[in-house]
């Protein structure tokens, strides 16, 4: 089964078409890079796929659920993490885990088990009862990712998850992404780091609301005859509305 399927998915705001008939599918366990310049329509597309915004036309299913009629089912079966919104700073690490476990309806015994698992895997035992605000940014990001996976979602959406972190932390974060994908979770990720686009199984590039290219990084580089994803992006991503 495909984790995500869209067919001519479209969103209009008045006479502006933010997302224009995008059609693609994502396999289970795939790392799918969703790229585009600022203003190309990525956020609108992601909000529709997460069940937060009703499409104007077209079809889509996420984890097998319909984006018009089964938005609550979608929300229960996906994880979401963005750079800005993720953890409550004035809760401790343990409280954040418990809070999100509760939100997703996990049993108390499962929350306990998940808490131990996350604290052990991320080596956060010593700061388990510290306020989240006191953690270094990289730790917070890894915690946010673990929390986004707490209910074992089929698909996880990562919206610029690595902005601003140091190069080692950024790679440790990708280690976690690889591991989750290895365990069968589908990863849908946006990024402005073109080296990270290379880590994806396949990459789509949005320009002015449309998907103008979709292939493996190697395939895209062959097609556009350049040696890096940055080269591909520089050729494709310059649309008209983003100038």
């Amino acid at each position: 089964m495909k984790a995500i399927i869209t067919n001519k998915l479209t969103k209009k705001f008045g006479d502006f078409t933010a997302t224009n008939e995008i059609t693609f599918s994502v396999d289970e366990g795939e790392i799918f890079g969703f790229l585009g310049a600022n203003g190309a329509g990525k956020t609108t597309a992601i909000r529709m796929l997460c069940g937060l915004l009703k499409p104007s036309s077209g079809e889509a299913t996420v984890a097998g659920f319909d984006v018009y009629r089964q938005t609550e089912k979608i929300k229960q079966n996906i994880g979401y993490m963005s750079q800005r919104f993720s953890l409550y700073h004035d809760l401790t690490v343990r409280e954040n885990i418990r809070f999100y476990g509760g939100i997703y309806g996990l049993r108390l015994s499962d929350i306990k088990r998940k808490t131990d698992e996350i604290l052990n895997t991320l080596a956060l035992q010593t700061v388990a009862d510290s306020l989240t605000i006191s953690l270094p940014l990289g730790w917070k990001q890894r915690l946010a990712f673990a929390v986004a996976l707490i209910h074992d979602p089929k698909v996880v959406f990562l919206d610029e998850p690595t902005g601003g972190v140091d190069p080692i932390t950024r790679r440790q974060f990708w280690d976690m992404i690889y591991e989750a994908a290895h365990n069968g979770t589908t990863i849908f990720v946006t990024t402005h780091y073109m080296d990270e686009a290379e880590y994806c199984n396949r990459v789509s590039i949005m320009v002015d609301g449309r998907i103008n290219a979709l292939d493996t990084p190697a395939g895209l580089k062959r097609t556009y005859n350049v040696d890096s994803m940055d080269g591909v992006f520089q050729i494709l991503a310059r649309g008209t509305s983003t100038k």
């Binding site: 601003g164 190069p167 290895h182 402005h192 990084p217 520089q234 100038k243």
Partner: protein
């Protein structure tokens, strides 16, 4: 005389040492990059240099003037673009620019030469409110506003964070053009690939300067053998290489994996090791370290 001189500047917030004895200098006309991740201390240093924050210890000058005692003079002669968008969202493009010109006692016309290339890209949207501009346009308007009084030294705090790869490239072309007109520019960024576009860079991490040099010079600080490694399964490749007896560090790097090895390690032992772990299509090449390799190596020292 240096355009910017920083001598053992320290600053703490409670128990957090945001800056620890930071020293470096920037020459007149230089495009100087302060490279480091979030939380490294970049913004704290900028705020001290633009006279908005007092250092706990140490001394800094801009255009030869002390940032603590000569703040009145400096505020009129430096340009500062903060990391957060700080224009008036409910004023139009033109009104914002007019406002900043008036505050500095000048007019848009008086210094139009300096901003012409950038402002012409905005002119079509002159009547649009700043809050309604796209990210790239906001950034261009902010740059115009901090240039309108023809500053001697320009401070740009993470102007390209969160900006897409194409707009980032355009922004750096604008900086190069401004440099040609004689401006000294200190710019901070968390993007390592932008370091290569500067005349010189300082690496900052956890409040300390790790190195100051030209982009090519700085990579000579990396002294261990470095290899680019590829195989069919990148995930398994990284896992296995990290356990190898010759491995010092191993990280994904675009389409390949960079392996930092113990001194004296050659290509063959790496290839043999990977074959013994059943990797397919193994390619191992010795490579020269880049800016990001060097930053990571210095971070772990």
């Amino acid at each position: 005389m240096n355009a910017i001189t920083i001598e053992t500047v320290s600053k703490s917030f409670g128990s957090v040492n945001a800056l620890q004895r930071v020293s470096f200098s920037v020459k007149p006309g230089e495009l100087f990059g302060l490279i480091g991740p979030d939380g490294a201390g970049k913004t704290t240093l900028f705020k001290i240099l633009v006279t908005l924050l007092l250092p706990d210890a140490g001394r800094a000058t801009v255009s030869g003037r002390d940032v603590v005692t000569d703040f009145r003079y400096l505020r009129q002669t430096i340009g500062y673009m903060p990391g957060r968008f700080s224009l008036y969202p409910d004023l139009t493009v033109r009104e914002n620019l007019d406002f900043f010109a008036t505050v500095f006692g000048t007019t848009i016309e008086a210094n139009y030469d300096l901003i012409r290339d950038i402002y012409e890209q905005l002119a079509l949207f002159g009547g649009r409110r700043a809050g309604k501009l796209s990210g790239g346009m906001k950034q261009k308007l902010a740059l115009c506003c901090c240039l309108i009084h023809k500053p001697d030294v320009l401070f740009l705090d993470e102007p390209t964070t969160g900006v897409d790869a194409v707009s980032r490239k355009e922004f750096w072309e604008m900086l190069k053009n401004l440099q040609k007109q004689g401006l000294t520019i200190l710019v901070s960024t968390p993007y390592m690939d932008e370091a290569g576009l500067c005349d010189r860079v300082a690496f900052i991490q956890a409040g300390k300067i790790m190195a100051v040099d030209t982009p090519t010079g700085i990579t000579t600080r990396f002294e261990k053998p470095l290899f680019s490694v590829r195989a069919t399964s990148t995930y398994r490749l990284i896992q296995d290489l990290r356990q190898a007896p010759f491995a010092d560090a191993c990280y994904a790097f675009g389409e390949s994996v960079h392996l930092t090895a113990r001194p004296g390690t050659g290509v063959l032992p790496v290839v043999d090791y990977l074959h013994s772990r059943n990797h397919e299509d193994v390619v191992v090449q010795p490579i020269m370290p880049g800016i990001e390799d060097t930053f990571m190596e210095l971070m772990t020292k």
